[in-house]
Amino acid sequence: MAGETGDGNKHIETNSAMSPKYKLTYFDLRGLAEPLRFLLAYGDIEYEDSRFTFEQWPEMKKSMPFGKVPVLEVDGQALHQSMAMTRYFAKQLKLTGDDDWEAMLCDIMVDTMNDFRMQVTGYYYEPNEETKEKKKEVLFNETMPFYLERLDEEVKKNDGHFVKGKLTWADLAIVAMIDFMEDQLQTKFTDNYSNLKAIKEKVLDLPQIKAWVERRPKTNY
């Protein structure tokens, strides 16, 4: 088995002949795979970025461990749950803060952003036109200001990052989500929140992230 170091890092050995083979499977979207793609890009970790169409999904679903994607295969073993996987790589790349408390602060910010994301996705995929209009009102008038004000305040309090004035996976994952949510809503909603706008720009300017964003497939969200 590749790279058994006995300290919990047995599956990550970049730049070595024993690197695990990674294959990420997801829709041809950014969505919930994008935080993980950002981490992999940041860490210069090679992987097969496999994308399927909506037509192919019903068949693909059957072979996924819990019928959902993203799924990451590591030397043939299938992992799932986007945030679990993203957190794992964050740990390998030392992007979880300096201790368990800071690691938790990262989790808190990412999960909070995820709560916000679910409200947006719930609106985006609402099939009933009338309900969708009502949801849009609540979303734009209440939910978005509520979250954006507080998230902006967190970045301000934390010297330009989401956690303790330093780059963590919370910054990468949240910016990845902001990036596709702004496309779902066709609104650059961070433009009016200076601290959020700044961290978004800071992350998108990181060389590995910038290069990834330039070469990744263009998708609706």
Binding site: F66, Q81, A84, R87, Q92, D107, I108, T112, D115
Partner: protein, 192 residues
């Protein structure tokens, strides 16, 4: 000096119960503060993101139930033996929506489709992992799973676990852990 803990949640099991299970299993004392609906209106604006539960550790407020569970699990050594195990614990969140179980029109879909879909896979996972969800050892994933499923079964009005042999045995094993058994016997009785 050991920290003091205060858990703040509604007077139900819901998303607070996995946290309570973790404290009890670890034998760590905490104040189990239950907030009434009337009182919640006053408290809500003082919380970071207007939601429960939140945990206070020596007065520092932390939110997001899963973040809290993971943090405590790590502290109390209920997170497996390495990062790979920790990842497997995190992956046990693939659940049917507990909230969907509350809505009458969604109950049938949960009972007939989602529950069998997820539970048959978890049943297989427990079988493969020596009677636990992760790598043959007790972790917070087991505590979270059993606490949350009890809530879901109560919402659905049906014991959806009973027909899955490995999960039924797993549930019994977890509920028979001495500290968990003692807690369940004395905890307030709530609808979910």
């Amino acid at each position: 000096m050991a920290p003091t803990y205060k858990l703040n949640y509604f007077d139900v099991r819901g998303r607070g119960e996995p946290i309570r299970f973790i404290f009890h299993q670890a034998g760590v004392s905490f104040e189990d503060n239950r907030i009434s609906k009337e009182h919640w209106g006053t408290i809500k604006p003082t919380t970071p993101f207007g939601k429960l539960p939140f945990l206070e550790e020596d007065g520092k407020v932390i939110v997001q139930s899963l973040a809290i569970e993971r943090y405590l699990a790590r502290k109390f050594k209920l997170i497996g033996k390495d990062e790979w195990d920790a990842l497997q614990c995190d992956a046990v969140q693939a659940f049917f929506e507990a909230d969907a179980a509350k809505k009458e029109e969604k109950k049938a879909a949960v009972i007939n489709d989602q529950a069998p879909f997820y539970l048959s896979r978890f049943d297989e996972q427990v079988k493969k992992n020596g009677g636990y969800l992760v790598n043959g050892q007790l972790t917070w994933a087991d505590l979270h799973f059993v606490a949350t499923l009890q809530v879901t079964c109560d919402m659905l009005g049906k014991d959806v676990v009973a027909s899955h042999a490995n999960l039924a045995a797993h549930r019994e094993k977890i509920l028979n852990l001495p500290n968990i058994k003692a807690w369940v016997a004395k905890r307030p009785t709530t609808p979910f």
